[in-house]
Symmetry: C2
Subunit: 221 residues, 2 copies
DNA sequence: AAGCCGGTGATTTTCGAAAATCCCCCTTGC
DNA sequence: GCAAGGGGGATTTTCGAAAATCACCGGCTT
């Protein structure tokens, strides 16, 4: 893996987790120090992230972490439901044994980690992503899967801004929602699976809206 | 505008028009010569294009123009219909006078250029893009508009591969299709507008499939 | 006192060379 | 004859400095 790839993944993670706050100006000198490399690989990584809308670039004024806003969150959720419900329908129509197996496995791994409690945030997030990917993995569309990844990353940024996503549990059993989705999907009940998925995302949006800290977004810079 | 931006737009155009053939390896020395700049801005442009799937990058082996295939074309068309039909429905629901005005104007400009005949390929393409954008301009979703741009670019690559897109006219009146779409849209008849749009894209796909020259894709390199 | 102009320092952008890596072909050994 | 190993050249990747641009501040004019 090249340094540019390393920089890309590191920056991506730091932006999604919020280690680099929304709106933060990304000065080259600071980034060189932080990631221990020259500016060439960093600039390449930033250009990729710009195309994914995780950073903004302004000509001759450099880069900054893309800011967050509730209006953008609504758009993201809406797009996400559109993409993933279609991908889920396609998967249900086309998926075979390997796909079903992947869902069952991902759900189990997610459930284990989720009961394990507070400490394991990083792994929990990874398994949550793996589960949602498993659901739509058989859709057989590079475009839909690519859009899914971008939208998932953007959604995750909002979730981490909401009180460190501490147990979204407020009157909500997320494990049960995941189980219900998996069940409807494996039963090849497209309409029910799609409805559950959309509802899942709408609730997540509501939770984020309720706990969103606009202060977390740095000023325009 | 920075050199990197210049390189980005120039490369993007050359890839979409086919001036840089699908599959062609993009050697830095060749690109420096062709675009008259050093490699830093070129590499930044290539990284952006990679995120848009117009070029492939393989670690330590450089970049190449993303290859085309009929399987990918089917996926692109399917994704395009999903995105644009939703964006069209939203636009019809939300659009105001400015939006309607934009459609009428874009349709007129397109029609003028299209009757003007063979010579004006570049301008025709630009107006064709402007028309399709005008239809969905009121959807008020950055994500959907962004996806539209990527999918449009990819579709355009296939169209230019098909016999220089010479008058797709084979038993087809494209102007009439555009007029019908605009009419249904302005009448706020979502279902009919969406059906016409989807049919428009399916026919374009069929035309491309019929005239596609697989030889045009350079070998794996 | 308010507004405009110019200079200085900070920052981004770009270049060209150095370092690292890969590809191809030739040699060598079995 | 064929596979494995190695060397030379081509290519990508990375660095650090130079060039270009911007932002801020103080002074000057009105």
């Amino acid at each position: 893996m090249t340094l540019a790839d390393t920089a890309y993944y590191a920056l991506r993670r730091d932006i999604i987790t919020g280690a680099l706050a929304p709106g933060l100006p990304l000065r080259m000198a600071m980034l060189c120090e932080r990631y221990g490399m020259g500016m060439s690989p960093l600039r390449e990584a930033l250009n990729r992230l710009q195309a994914e809308r995780l950073v903004d670039a302004i000509s001759l004024k450099g880069f900054r972490v893309a800011p967050l806003s509730l209006a953008e969150l609504a758009d993201t959720t809406q797009a996400r439901i559109l993409i993933e419900t279609e991908a889920l329908r396609l998967s249900i129509a086309k998926g075979g044994d390997a796909w079903e197996t992947g869902i069952v496995g991902a759900l189990h791994a997610l459930s284990l980690q989720s009961q394990r409690g507070e400490g394991a945030g990083e792994a929990l997030e990874q398994r949550h992503h793996a589960f949602h990917l498993a659901l739509i993995a058989a859709c057989d569309s590079r475009w839909l899967l690519g859009f899914f990844e971008k939208l998932y990353a953007e959604s995750e940024r909002y979730r981490t801004q909401s009180l460190t996503a501490q147990r979204a549990a407020h009157g909500r059993d997320i494990d049960a929602e995941h189980r219900a989705m998996a069940e409807a999907t494996l039963a090849r009940d497209s309409d029910r699976a799609v409805a559950l998925l959309a509802e899942h995302y709408r609730r997540t949006e509501d939770f984020v809206v309720a706990h969103f800290q606009p202060a977390a977004s740095a000023r325009r810079a």
